[in-house]
């Protein structure tokens, strides 16, 4: 086997993607089913001069990566539901202070300790609304190891492009399952480095003054420019402000920089969507079963298609609305009580034709489950 072909867990595919993207600082706290990410990185990072630290909890992990990112490093943490809950306040801080970072949530069953070793996709809305206050987030997912690798690289790229935390919502099945991964050659996937200011030493640098294109160049904290960073509403200097204009301006900026670029941030795969009478919308490990249904029914002449979402937030509403126009039935396949279903229903012209095929018992939804639910919807009985 060639060196760059591996047979690995999804969690390792994420590790490979992160290292490919230039990760050089990781802080985390062990939790099933994400722990392998920390374990592998504790081994791999120092080999290339990077740093790994096991913190005292997930709050501290999230805080530590924010601190390290500010000093110019590419950073990540990884956890599962209970730890993701603990991270929310600091996640909001990273949003407010516009500090790039990547947070992996390998989802398990919840709420609470829930089902530590079973699959779920119950944290989709937590990723969207876990932190308090109005805000926008980027959350991505993938259904196979090659895509987990690529979307992890993408997460780092988007974090730098938009100066924002990016959440990777994987799940227990993809995280633990073993599958082939081909690690791309260096340079095969473009990487976005940190946009650093060209303001020279000794000249005033405004950490929160967007350029014309909306991006905010950074200056490595502790370097040649001294500035203030705060989670309070702040002006272009980073100084606290409760001036209504400043407050409204900052909040709009934080929302707009992401929501206005939803189209650019949308990542997805499509299978037989063009002429689909039944459109399945799915993501993560559930999309594997959905794809199986499509591949299985097409040869039998059933016009079933799959839209596999990789960007969950900002919700690619234009894409979904457009793709849902022609099909007679839209079925969202997910392992929760309908979290993406809600977003689809809100977005489409005709919400009555949108149905849910789900499993919430800690088991992977199977192609048979999906088939059976579809038959019920179609009035064919099981």
């Amino acid at each position: 086997m060639k060196d760059n072909i591996k047979f690995v867990q999804g969690n390792e595919a994420c590790v490979e993607g992160a290292l490919y993207a230039g990760l050089d600082f990781f802080a985390g706290y062990p939790i099933t089913p994400s722990t392998e990410i920390a374990e592998h990185l504790s081994y791999r990072l120092p080999q290339s001069g990077g740093k790994f630290i096991q913190m005292e909890d997930e709050i501290a992990s999230m805080c530590a990566i924010i601190g390290a990112s500010l000093t110019g490093h590419k950073v990540m943490t990884a956890t599962s539901g209970p730890g993701f809950s603990l991270m929310q306040e600091a996640l909001g801080y990273a949003i407010m202070t516009e500090i790039p970072c990547v947070i992996v949530d390998v989802q398990r069953g919840g709420p609470s300790t829930g089902l530590p070793t079973s699959v779920s996709q119950g944290d989709v809305n937590q990723a969207r609304w876990g932190a308090h206050g109005d805000h926008a987030v980027i959350a991505l997912t993938a259904s196979n190891h090659q895509d987990i690798f690529a979307i992890t690289v993408e997460a780092f790229n988007l974090a730098e492009t938009y100066r924002t935390p990016v959440i990777l919502l994987f799940d227990e099945v993809t995280g633990h399952m073993r599958e082939r991964l081909v690690v791309p050659e260096e340079g095969e996937i473009p990487l976005v480095g940190r946009l650093r200011t060209s303001v020279p030493e000794g000249v005033d640098y405004h950490p929160y003054l967007p350029r014309e294109d909306g991006r905010l160049p950074m200056s490595d904290f502790g370097g040649v420019h001294r500035y203030n960073v705060t989670g309070l509403f702040h002006d272009m200097w980073g100084f606290p402000s409760n001036n209504p204009g400043v407050v409204q301006g900052l909040l709009r900026h934080l929302m707009d920089k992401i929501n206005n670029n939803a189209h650019q941030i949308a990542r997805y795969n499509e299978y037989f969507v063009e002429d689909a009478q039944v459109l399945l919308i799915s993501y993560g490990s559930a999309a594997r079963s959905a794809l199986h249904v499509v591949q299985n029914r097409r040869p039998r002449g059933e016009r079933v298609g799959l839209l596999e979402l990789q960007t969950l937030w900002p919700f690619p509403v234009d894409l979904v609305r457009e793709r849902c126009r022609a099909p007679e039935i839209v079925m969202v396949v997910e392992m929760n009580m309908g979290q993406v279903l809600q977003a689809v229903k809100l977005g489409v012209d005709d919400p009555e034709k949108v149905f849910l095929a789900n499993r919430i018992d800690g088991s992977l939804i199977t192609p048979t489950d999906i088939r059976n639910i579809l038959r019920v919807i179609q009035g064919k009985g099981v």
């Binding site: 001069g49 805080c63 390290a68 600091a90 502790g222």
Partner: protein, 270 residues
């Protein structure tokens, strides 16, 4: 450099009440940094939330004003990203030892080089006078209207037990000693803790009938004594001041360099 050159005048007027001890701490800190001849660019200040934490905004260093209780966790990431800089973390007693208590003991245990300043006013100033883990049994607070039955930590004992390699205590009355403690703490290669008894006349003082700010400072004068003094033997209730611990143990970031060396050796072997 004059004191005012360390200050961001844009941030003034400050939000501290008249007589608050936190300004005295800021003054002593500036004098310590000045005496050490450190440039403003060599200092990173990371703080949480509270009246005390506001120091970071007022000073012209690299300043990171974070969330309540988590300053040391942020500072850990900053330090690992930039091991060559001096990190100073000013905290209130609630910030450091209630919500942030876990981060405090773990930062101390790791012996990561940074200076934790605990401005102990025995109360939550910023939120208006609720009891803190340092208020102590029998005190009054807005959330202990009858009497506080929580026992207080001894910050020095706690720091030592957690593994801090430099531990000192002083008060706002003893500014010379405070400056001296800060100087030594900043130079210390490891996790250093300086507890400063700092008066909050507005809440702790008023609730507990401690008098004016000056009265509260006189209290520090009369109820503290240098470590191991004769007075302490005669009156065990006196609070000791001075440097309790100053020892050398491997510092976290330097130890991490060893990890990197080992990993690189292993990486080459395949």
């Amino acid at each position: 450099m004059p004191v005012k050159d360390y200050i961001r005048e844009r941030f003034f007027p400050h939000l501290w009440c008249p007589g608050c001890g936190h300004g005295i701490v800021m003054n002593a800190l500036i004098r310590a940094i000045e005496a050490l001849g450190l440039s403003k660019n060599e200092i990173v200040m990371v703080s949480g939330i509270g009246c005390s934490s506001r120091i970071s905004g007022y000073l012209d260093f690299h300043t990171l004003h974070t969330i309540h209780g988590r300053a040391l966790a942020f500072a850990t990431g900053v330090k690992m990203g930039l091991p060559e800089l001096n990190i100073i973390v000013p905290m209130g007693d609630g910030d450091a030892l209630a919500i942030g208590g876990n981060h405090f003991i773990h930062a101390a245990r790791r012996n990561i080089e940074m200076t934790a300043i605990i401005m102990n006013n025995r109360i939550y100033g910023m939120t208006g006078g609720q009891y803190s883990p340092l208020s102590g049994y029998g005190t009054l607070a807005t959330t202990a209207p009858y009497m506080n039955i929580d026992h207080a930590f001894d910050v020095v004992q706690l720091s030592i037990a957690a593994g801090a390699t430099f531990v000192a205590r002083t008060t706002t009355y003893h500014v010379q000693q405070m400056t001296d403690c800060f100087k030594k703490a900043i130079l210390h290669e490891g996790f250093s803790v300086v507890e400063v008894l700092s008066q909050c006349p507005t809440y702790f003082g008023r609730k507990n009938k401690m008098g004016s700010a000056a009265d509260m400072m006189a209290f520090y004068r009369d109820h503290t004594t240098p470590i191991g003094s004769k007075k302490k033997k005669e009156n065990p209730d006196l609070i000791e001041r001075g440097i309790f611990v100053q020892k050398d143990l491997p510092e976290y970031c330097r130890a991490y360099d060893t990890v990197i060396e080992r990993a690189k050796g292993k990486g080459q072997k395949g």
